[in-house]
Symmetry: C3
Subunit: 637 residues, 3 copies
Amino acid sequence: MTRESAGVPGEDDGDSVVYDLDADCTAEDVEQNQPYLAEINGIVDYGVFVDLSESVSGLVHESVLEGTFAVGDELVVELETVRDNGDMAFEPAEVDLDDGTTVEAVTHDYSLTGTDRLEGTVGEQIHLEGEVVQVKQTGGPTIFHVTDESGVVPCAAFEEAGVRAYPSVEVGDVVRVTGTPEHREGSVQIEVDGLSKLEGETAEEARDRLEDALESRAEPHDVAPLIDWPAFEKLRDDLQEVATLLRRTVLEGRPIRVRHHADGDGMCAAVPVQIALERFIAEVHEDDDAPQHLIKRLPAKAPFYEMEDATRDLNFALEDREKHGQQLPLLLMLDNGSTAEDVPAYETLAHYDIPIVAIDHHHPDPDAVGDLLDAHVNPYLHDEDYRITTGMLCVELARMIYPDITDELRHVPAVAGISDRSKADAMDDYIDLAVEEGYDEDRLQDVSEALDYAAFWLRYNSGDQLIQDLLQINSDEEERHRDLVSFFADRAREEVDEQLDAAMAHLEHEDLDNDAHLYRIDVENYAHRFTYPAPGKTTGEIHDRKIEETGDPVITVGYGPDFAVLRSDGVRLDIPQMVSELEEEVPGGGVSGGGHLVVGSIKFVKGKREEVIDALVDKMEDAEIDEALSSAAPIDD
Amino acid sequence: MTRESAGVPGEDDGDSVVYDLDADCTAEDVEQNQPYLAEINGIVDYGVFVDLSESVSGLVHESVLEGTFAVGDELVVELETVRDNGDMAFEPAEVDLDDGTTVEAVTHDYSLTGTDRLEGTVGEQIHLEGEVVQVKQTGGPTIFHVTDESGVVPCAAFEEAGVRAYPSVEVGDVVRVTGTPEHREGSVQIEVDGLSKLEGETAEEARDRLEDALESRAEPHDVAPLIDWPAFEKLRDDLQEVATLLRRTVLEGRPIRVRHHADGDGMCAAVPVQIALERFIAEVHEDDDAPQHLIKRLPAKAPFYEMEDATRDLNFALEDREKHGQQLPLLLMLDNGSTAEDVPAYETLAHYDIPIVAIDHHHPDPDAVGDLLDAHVNPYLHDEDYRITTGMLCVELARMIYPDITDELRHVPAVAGISDRSKADAMDDYIDLAVEEGYDEDRLQDVSEALDYAAFWLRYNSGDQLIQDLLQINSDEEERHRDLVSFFADRAREEVDEQLDAAMAHLEHEDLDNDAHLYRIDVENYAHRFTYPAPGKTTGEIHDRKIEETGDPVITVGYGPDFAVLRSDGVRLDIPQMVSELEEEVPGGGVSGGGHLVVGSIKFVKGKREEVIDALVDKMEDAEIDEALSSAAPIDD
Amino acid sequence: MTRESAGVPGEDDGDSVVYDLDADCTAEDVEQNQPYLAEINGIVDYGVFVDLSESVSGLVHESVLEGTFAVGDELVVELETVRDNGDMAFEPAEVDLDDGTTVEAVTHDYSLTGTDRLEGTVGEQIHLEGEVVQVKQTGGPTIFHVTDESGVVPCAAFEEAGVRAYPSVEVGDVVRVTGTPEHREGSVQIEVDGLSKLEGETAEEARDRLEDALESRAEPHDVAPLIDWPAFEKLRDDLQEVATLLRRTVLEGRPIRVRHHADGDGMCAAVPVQIALERFIAEVHEDDDAPQHLIKRLPAKAPFYEMEDATRDLNFALEDREKHGQQLPLLLMLDNGSTAEDVPAYETLAHYDIPIVAIDHHHPDPDAVGDLLDAHVNPYLHDEDYRITTGMLCVELARMIYPDITDELRHVPAVAGISDRSKADAMDDYIDLAVEEGYDEDRLQDVSEALDYAAFWLRYNSGDQLIQDLLQINSDEEERHRDLVSFFADRAREEVDEQLDAAMAHLEHEDLDNDAHLYRIDVENYAHRFTYPAPGKTTGEIHDRKIEETGDPVITVGYGPDFAVLRSDGVRLDIPQMVSELEEEVPGGGVSGGGHLVVGSIKFVKGKREEVIDALVDKMEDAEIDEALSSAAPIDD
């Protein structure tokens, strides 16, 4: 019972006070020995029936009544007794309604039960206020997923089988739910007795309260860095912003779709974040299946977000909204998604309510993607570079989201760094960290090779368990992890050797004017197709062997019918610049492509291959020697 | 109570009549003050017990009895009273069983409750007669889906968990169901108390009645044409036949699988029919999930029904039959399916009970497909041509199936016509219609481009929601529709421009002897592969630009390693004729192909490309100039 | 009631005996007229309350008591009566606890109800002992699948919704379940009242008993061979071992994944085994859905187990374990899986608990695969050869697993033999057997062609029902079978003819030094791609036609950009030998491959095709003529 004026019954002995129950008050709001304003709504032989509110009414027996009454008369009564069947009996209170009487309104006591206290109130009616985050119409009840300050709970409202209950209530509304928490298939669900949309000031207040709570719960954990690395710290604020956004997304019940580069660094980035989010979702959501429904990790084969993937993602999202009333997801791009090539796909999603976040260490084009991203973390935006790999970034992100995961992740930044051949000074610290966990450098190298090999054969599948076993995250069979990693790594090396056995014999060498070695390999004709390693990796492996043999400067070009991949060490190619020049110089060449100073790929139409490559080599002759430059991150095919 | 002879109790005051209840009569069939034939089945101190039918029996108290009786004696009785507990008391009727007495059989009053009145009878026992359209064995009850005159209802019969109830009852049988409608997961389902197969005359009568009702319900709506177009009207009867067949298919509970050409016209055809059928299914079926289970739309990439698609469709159909007891589906081919190339796939399905209907505006080969189709709508069968596009036809078809959809479809024929570049006179009317709905010509053009672009990226997915948003059918977010359409259309044009930037430089020009311009483009070597636009559209776009530049007559050939696509304006190529000549002229060329006078595609073996194309060009030199001829419908790759 | 010492009440009249109930004894263990040791746990006006065990207690009325008692005193009592409400009354027994008294412990009578008697005990509490084979955590109860001597039953234990019950109990533990069998979704399931892991000796005994029973139930049926064929009999023991292993796998509740060669023989092998196992699973498992969950047949396109397939299989297995608590499966390789090429995939699975069995008639490399296989059946291991086809072997295997299937399989070995062109003497007997079943040789040939054709279009789908219809196993529509077989066979022949029409014109002929005819066909340039027949079959068909035309010796080579398929009749090629020579002779050729003396395929890098094929032909010039040699089994592409 909440009294709007200061006084509560019994505390004010001065002027007499009569309480006037609001229409929505229930029997619980009526106290003993307190005077209530009632209205007569019926007269019978044995007394009069009075109403105190919509649901509170009872008999005043004729034996305690004096005088005559008419329906509609007001009467001040006190509770005499509540019978076993719940019927209430009243008696006249010894208070008169005169000028000295203060009438105090009594509002119904909606003391709210938070979603964190539902287990303890199973079977009892409770009240809850929160925001609707999903409305799923089942064949039976309508399920409103409601988030309050502490979690998300499904609330089942039954109107008629398959009929939308409370049709005016939609996702985003703030509602008050009266209902009974019940166990249902392993989760707590509230059976709704009443559900009303809050309006006006009440809604504002509730929304403010929820927003405050959400903001405070979304706040990421303040975790100490795994290693001391000033360059990395420049990105910490950005990561914290993303951690906040992702935690908030979970709290709001919105699904998350992760698209990551299908290589070692990409998986070192995506898996920790996936597991951290799954655990946070499990914590927030009463529904046990929520982690399964709310996060999905998918590899992306291309080094950018392809229209085909975006269309597919959009399709699934729209179907999930249609079938399950889910919100459209947030898209999280990892180790991918920073360049102009991503724009068409991003713009497609932008037409729907799909926020996009990218964490990447590939050379970004912020002018192109900036406006389309809700957050963008990339070392190049802070004058750092690819050496801070996405896996390193995402391990810290995962820890901000769910710090308890830390112990499972200490070796991961080292794997990420090795996968992308990061030459960061901090690599030593990361490797030390991994060694402390029992991973020597050979095993780290093996894990990296094994991830790459598994990613190739998994194609478009996420292979959750297998990858977790390889990375030993969320996986507790160390022996299997070790054996599997060695086996995959060995296979990978063996297959690389086989590929190179065929290819090396066909390598063409040329001494450029600038004294760089140029190696060319026709990967279409002198490498096996559709098998591991793919053209990009084949080229990279050849390049690495040649550097070892001949030392810098070395440029390697692996070309197929309509593409070429480029790697350079000790020579500044500036591939984006080359591409724009080639576009003009080779009319009808259909030249496009991307990359950085020393790593990149170029596409062209088949019929102009020779011309494009010749023009490319001409440019390389003039390229500036710069021994500091080294190709590192693997190229994708 | 149904009397088999003319008389009903009380109406016949002449000769005395005694009623004889059939064995299956119930208490409900017994009326007050009427004499019934009874048999004594027990004698006690206080009277005799009599049976009137298997379930109707009661006491005749000794106080009202005269004489002596033996078990098995007949007695004529009247109802005295029905006690609170349902026990019946009878008294002797003042009728003797003598020669003047007519004995009239009384059959049980199985007054049937139609599936349209189930909501009002939930919880009460009812009778229903209908045809079994699906028998699904669940782990619990057996579910018989029964269609009567007004709808289809699932009837759950429980024999033993997982055991087939009424094993002799199969799909196609006419049955009488006694049971109780109950709500179950949002639908009404009948819990079966008894289910019997009707036999002989009763079955015939019921079947006739059902058939009459079915026929009458299957009758399509008589909708006024959207525009006045005499050419179109020639096809109206055929469309009505198909509308009847499809409505009937829904009424019979048979699933429908739609395969449509994956281009703009194909989607303008398939989506309206899909939505109309979904709404009609929802109306007919008590089961809320029925629309989801009973109709599936799938794009077909090839311009004919491929064996691979047919095998896949058959597989799904057989699995659905095995797992869900569904009937095999009807196949609805839209904007596709009229030619000899469809025959192997059709014949494969013909071995199972799968009816096939084709609605198409591509040049048909009725001799090849006629016998395999249950219905075939095609303007060429009525001396009309491709200008009446499939989308135009299907908008009228959708309206016949479910007229309320009309308001959502007025702009669709214009989009369909623009997509297939229909030169129909009626296009103006269709465009006016669309303009009235707020679609100006630019937007219509954009919708068409956007559909084409989306279809490309969707590949084998139907992308229901996305396509509905682009077409703005069953979709209510106009702003998103507008933005998305512009964005996709712009992207499509941009990517066409990029493709043509590369390709146009490699276009080979030749002046043919007949003064036609011949343009050739090697789309394998001078266009990007696996990206939008595909070779067919690339060729078409080049052709269009050249017509604009040089004017008619123009022929354009886009060729790859083992195929060529052809477009001609102002020259009569007669591609089917060319193909049959080339088959003979180029032995070992593996030439096949299809098309019309001015649009088509040819396949050959890679090694004979030059020879085939040279021979083809020779024929073009001699081709007849005919300015009336114009390639219009896009060619598929 | 089980007495641990020899005596049972009433049998020992010598020294007096008092029975002492174990703590877990129930009222059922208490017999009339027998003395039981009790402890007083309460004293009231009208008597004393005594405990005989944890759940057995009752009143001794003061009227029958003498003396005084204190709580905790021992008393020897007899059962006086059991009241209607289950309350027990005792009276003092006429036995004293003195030195002459033997106290005998009474253990609770856990007489076990086998899973074969659950139907008869629905609703009654029973006990069951068995091994846990699956633990599935649902949102509600935890489901333990327990196998005892006669079957597998799901046992549902509810701790708290979604909370793992009995967390210490895992797959492989032997447990005692007390619970109540109930019908649930068509199956019998036990609602668990108590579940305890057996330990120590009890566990050993139970495990021995279960193991004995398992061993005896796993024993395959001793079926008489379909035909008399001594060569075949050499493999019977191996087949029996596999039958035992597969039956045991079913009894242990482990899933089975079948990967089979996607050709006629492969399907003749896989389908009978699949159906036999499905029927055996249905017999063993109470859960009606078990056959669907526990066996899956999948075609393999390559002639070996590809890494991609293995990765996919592993993925599914790990997901099923994660989601459904299933054991990892046994992999059954049929008509495939005997060679070194299978090793990487096998080793991948070996890191998980996945047993592998191969039944194959391709030339094996037992040194490579031996250690990786749990069983390997192959005629070459017994000095027999490919003429005993896998289909022939698997028909006998299927019969050992489930003999009732025999009548459906008599025609299958003949189809298998024809598909792989077995020249076995026994073919006549097999054909006679089929003829007796109404299959003439033409139809058998047709079935073989039809299977091949269907396999091509099904691609990666198993097409269960369609293949069963073609093979007429588990399928009862003979007319459809006949029609469909003819249709598919005709289509197959027609499409082969079309392919050969194009190809034959481009066949290059050469007379080799050893007088063999060499035919070469460029299947990339002179055959249609991506259509039936694929390159391997195309080459085989050409080879067959040429043998017919020219007679032996004939070698045919079908080559594409990076592969060649070889067929030889009358010439000993020894392809594995050739491959190893080529690997050395053509450096950078990337040569690999496999096969036998007269059938095989070779891969190489595109750019070295000419060199590899020239070197190959050189070898053929020198190859030994051996008229006995004949290429038979079809080559895969």
